[in-house]
């Protein structure tokens, strides 16, 4: 914008571009900023002044939530479920992807196609039978009851991404290692995994974000408030404080804060991960 403006102050194309980008930026930012600032207002002020800076900063709204056990419990539950999902996805998917990438066996491509079926439909289609399955396994109302189906549904994409990366590890390396008496498993542990940190980070990030934000599966599988991850908890909170928007806005801000911090810290992996499907497995 700046450089174009300097070259020719009356360049209509540059002006249009700047205007357009500005409008979109406002469209994106205003709801987010209004949420953040709304949390600092009193309900009365929110009604007359939802856009501007608060006349009086009500730190109490945020402090009350930050010092409540409830907020931390929600985050803890989310963290436990997401960590389980990431760990199990990385372990099972990388082992399977390694096998598909390096071990030749009868039915390999058939089994891979079988796994990729998972890309075709969302978890919602089979959520009722899934509920009954989880119930029959005795996993209803447990962290695993949420995490295991999440792992299962993230396997297809994860295996494809990992396999493509593993296949780029030179075959000569594996061959030489095998000749020297190294086993496949040792090769996997000491060569493949350390070399694959970037893709493991990418797959881990996708799984984490999906699990952290998930609503439907926990909604169906969990009954106890004490186990709720934050998307369920925030809906309950909203139900309790239905029109005390200043509190709800503060609560929203504090629950999306971890996501935004993670995003700023791991931008590269997140953008790479979430658009990874695009480059195609």
């Amino acid at each position: 914008m700046n450089s174009a403006g300097a070259r020719n102050a009356f360049d209509p194309a540059a002006l249009f571009k700047a205007l357009f980008l500005g409008l979109v930026a406002i469209f994106v930012l205003v709801p987010l900023l209004a949420t953040l600032l709304g949390g600092f207002k009193s309900l009365g002020e929110l009604r007359v002044n939802p856009f501007g800076l608060p006349a009086q900063w009500e730190w109490q709204n945020y402090a009350d939530i930050l010092f409540s056990a409830r907020y931390w419990q929600l985050l803890r539950n989310s963290l436990v479920i997401s960590t389980l999902a990431v760990a199990l996805t990385l372990i099972t998917a990388s082992m399977a992807a390694f096998t598909f990438a390096h071990v030749r066996f009868f039915g390999s491509s058939m089994l891979l196609s079988y796994l990729t079926l998972g890309l075709l439909f969302p978890a919602a289609t089979a959520v009722l039978p899934l509920f009954i399955k989880v119930r029959d396994l005795g996993l209803l109302d447990t962290y695993f009851g949420v995490a295991l189906p999440q792992v299962a549904f993230s396997l297809a994409m994860s295996v494809l991404l990992l396999r493509r990366f593993f296949k780029d590890i030179p075959y000569e390396l594996l061959e030489a290692a095998l000749v020297d008496g190294c086993s496949y498993i040792k090769f996997f542990r000491y060569v493949t995994l350390p070399l694959s940190r970037p893709i493991l980070a990418t797959v881990g990030t996708i799984t984490f974000v999906n699990s952290w934000n998930a609503y439907l599966l926990p909604l169906v599988m969990l009954n106890t408030d004490a186990l709720y991850p934050w998307p369920l908890g925030i809906m309950v909170y909203q139900g309790e404080y239905s029109s005390e928007w200043h509190l709800i806005l503060a609560f929203i801000t504090l629950t999306i804060l971890p996501t935004i911090i993670l995003f700023l810290l791991a931008q590269k992996h997140i953008v790479a991960g979430l658009t990874a499907g695009a480059v195609k497995g």
Binding site: N2, L21, V24, F27, V28, P31, L32, A34, T35, G38, R47, P50, A93, T99, V103, R104, S109, S113, Y114, G118, L119, L120, F121, P122, A124, T125, A126, L128, P129, L130, F131, I132, K133, P149, A152, F153, L155, Y171, E175, L178, V209, N213, A214, Y215, L216, V220, P231, I234, M235, Q238, S243, T255, T259, I260, Q267, V271, L274, T275, G277, A278
Partner: protein, 311 residues
């Protein structure tokens, strides 16, 4: 997607050398196979494939989920679903989401990508800003916008009041609820599509664009005849994601409207939730699930066959 030719080609020397040298031959491979594959296959079969099969089976019963399903009613559940007006409304809404994705979101994303793929100060920051809504949870997004739309405290209400008008309750009216949801869909997802296009633009062969310029093509001509055609694969992919995404939209609708008022803003999945899951009508809900599954799979295969043959 998979390339079995590559596997075979690479693995060929392995067979030759294995017999001659010491080391894990078939034994080693066997160990890997029985240790490394089963966890993934088991989880996938148990929680993805079997439930889909069971959905087809349960959809033949009138069953509340307790005990064993015994009350076989054949295809009646499907008939009940198809006779429900709310189902067709939900289907229409999914169609609307797809239409808005294609007519508004995609051109917006493409325009922004073309602007932001160039380097200038602030370009990266703007990219990140526009991508941010995509990583926020749908639930949080829905709640933020239920505040934006709130008739008493919301931003829209405040704008209305400055013009001296009575603020509308957008989410509470059958006329505007779906429109309000559609705006949030664009807000939340355009950044993702923009990133897809930016990634594609950055891996574009710069020489082709350069060549067109040297041959005297104007900016617009280069864009129309060189850049956009080179982006076709990404555009097709973006359309694919928009359609699949619309078919599974649920989390966003719940905090905004729960599918209401009067089912006017249900999507297929929120319809499934409201009518099947929350009332534990397993047979009926499974039938909706099977229909959704059939739509997804048919669409995915047709789309792949027609539009993405070479990818």
């Amino acid at each position: 997607m998979s390339s079995p030719i590559g596997v075979a080609g690479e693995a060929a020397p392995q067979v030759g050398t294995r017999g001659a040298v010491r080391g894990p031959g078939w034994d080693g491979r066997f160990t890997v196979l029985i240790l490394f594959l089963p966890p993934a296959l088991l989880l996938f079969t148990l929680f993805v494939v079997l439930p889909i099969g069971e959905a087809a089976w349960y959809s033949g019963f009138n069953w509340n989920g307790f005990g064993r399903p015994t009350n076989w009613i054949g295809f009646d559940n499907y008939r009940f679903v198809l006779e429900t007006r709310a189902f067709w409304l939900a289907l229409r809404n999914n169609g609307l989401i797809i239409a808005v994705s294609l007519a508004i979101q995609l051109p917006l994303a493409l325009t922004l990508a073309l602007m932001l793929a160039e380097k200038f100060r602030g370009a990266v920051a703007l990219r990140m800003l526009f991508f941010m809504p995509y990583i926020l949870a749908e639930i949080a997004t829905g709640l933020i916008f239920s505040f934006v739309y709130d008739g008493d405290y919301g931003l829209v209400a405040s704008i209305w009041r400055t013009f001296g008008a009575e603020p509308p309750h957008l989410l509470a009216s059958t006329d505007t609820a779906m429109l309000a949801v559609l705006i949030v869909v664009v807000w939340k997802y355009f950044g993702f599509h923009m990133m897809l296009f930016i990634a594609a633009l950055q891996s574009l062969d710069k020489n082709l664009v350069e060549a067109a310029r040297i041959d005297g093509a104007t900016r617009t001509q280069t864009l129309r005849h060189v850049v956009i055609p080179l982006l076709y694969p990404t555009i097709r992919l973006s359309v694919f994601f928009a359609i699949i995404g619309s078919l599974q939209l649920f989390d966003l609708v719940m905090p905004l409207t729960r599918g209401g008022p009067a089912d006017s803003s249900n999507t297929l999945v929120s319809f499934l939730y409201n009518n099947g899951i929350s009332r534990m009508r397993v047979g009926y809900g499974s039938a909706i699930g099977v229909i959704l599954f059939a739509i997804c799979v048919t669409f995915a295969f047709t789309y792949k066959r027609w539009f993405m043959r070479d990818e």
